[in-house]
Symmetry: C2
Subunit: 203 residues, 2 copies
Amino acid sequence: MKSEKKQGRPRAFDARTVIGQAREVFWDRGFSAASLDTLSAATKLNRPSLYGAFGDKEELYLDALEGYREESLDVLSEALDPALPLRENLARVYDRALAIYLHGETAARGCFLISTATAEAIQHARVREVLGRSLNDFDDAIKERMELAVKRGELPADADPATLARLASAVMHSLAVRARAGDTRETLEALAHSGVDLICGRK
Amino acid sequence: MKSEKKQGRPRAFDARTVIGQAREVFWDRGFSAASLDTLSAATKLNRPSLYGAFGDKEELYLDALEGYREESLDVLSEALDPALPLRENLARVYDRALAIYLHGETAARGCFLISTATAEAIQHARVREVLGRSLNDFDDAIKERMELAVKRGELPADADPATLARLASAVMHSLAVRARAGDTRETLEALAHSGVDLICGRK
DNA sequence: CATATTTTATACCGTTTCGCATAAAAATCT
DNA sequence: AGATTTTTATGCGAAACGGTATAAAATATG
């Protein structure tokens, strides 16, 4: 079924690639300020092609958000490899986050979700939904590792994994905001380091 | 000089009030999605009046950001009253923050700066500047109180006030983002509470 | 009261916006 | 090969956009 070739003229583009290119535009400008002209130029797709494949601008943006959420969860769970000590896990989480937040031609871009979806979250319920769900997913991924840490004795037996996870996420949220505001890598790394100390207990 | 009545037709509005009304619009929609029609309606000012008094849309937005920054600093330093114990100070900071973040007809509005200025920070350097400066000011205000706490013995002598202040701010940033994402007051209060515990030491 | 000055109101201008109609192009199916 | 189906390209169109020209209204000054 799925592998059968579709009738008609084949697409000259890969949908995931296009969503990724659109994401770059949204990341730099935000949803509202990103025009279809700019998106069309960045993806090298004419507007009718964009509409045919993804629907309107909001749906394309939602696709970009979903893609980011999924990729971020992958990065997160890779960083949380239970074979490593918890302290190292957290350090890796922040390290991977900073790699994303400080990447791009615009040195300081921050987190795609936090920097662009928050602005639209009031007016666009579906954006708010993705934002909320993503934050929860990140919390949950960290919580799982925290639960393991309690079982293993890496954390005190009375530590609450869910609470610690949300605090760990809080540091990540702050990294995201501060990166967008133009903080230097050194400053951000210092915050990350102190966050690890605070949550895992000072070494 | 200043109190001399200006020649010509007097203004029928108070500039600070108008900036406040404009802020409500920007807060809900973000900078880019806020149209001059909407701003004009919300302030009950015709467009030429807006332009005469504040310049273009970006300058009006910058005025709104500055006003928010100043008011927030006032709220912050009031919450950090050194007559109270540090733990109570921090709890008040988060309490006041949540009062702002959860206020408004749109239940979950978050922080004006973090929710709207981050989106524009890449394309508009002046917005990024205000955002960065505001975050620094908040950090500094908390740092001052932390320094006092170290002197007083509320915190260990080897605690670093600047670091602790930025971690305290991190929790606030997370509250801001999560409020905008639609988290309930209970959830946010729990995060605030655990943040106080973590930074001041569990009671 | 006449003049100067500033604010307000109406209306408009050129541009950009999003989205689509139309038709050509490129593939599969019969 | 011809019919069918889907994607691409060009270009349009109505609406909304930010911003301003113009003139009336309201005050201070002389």
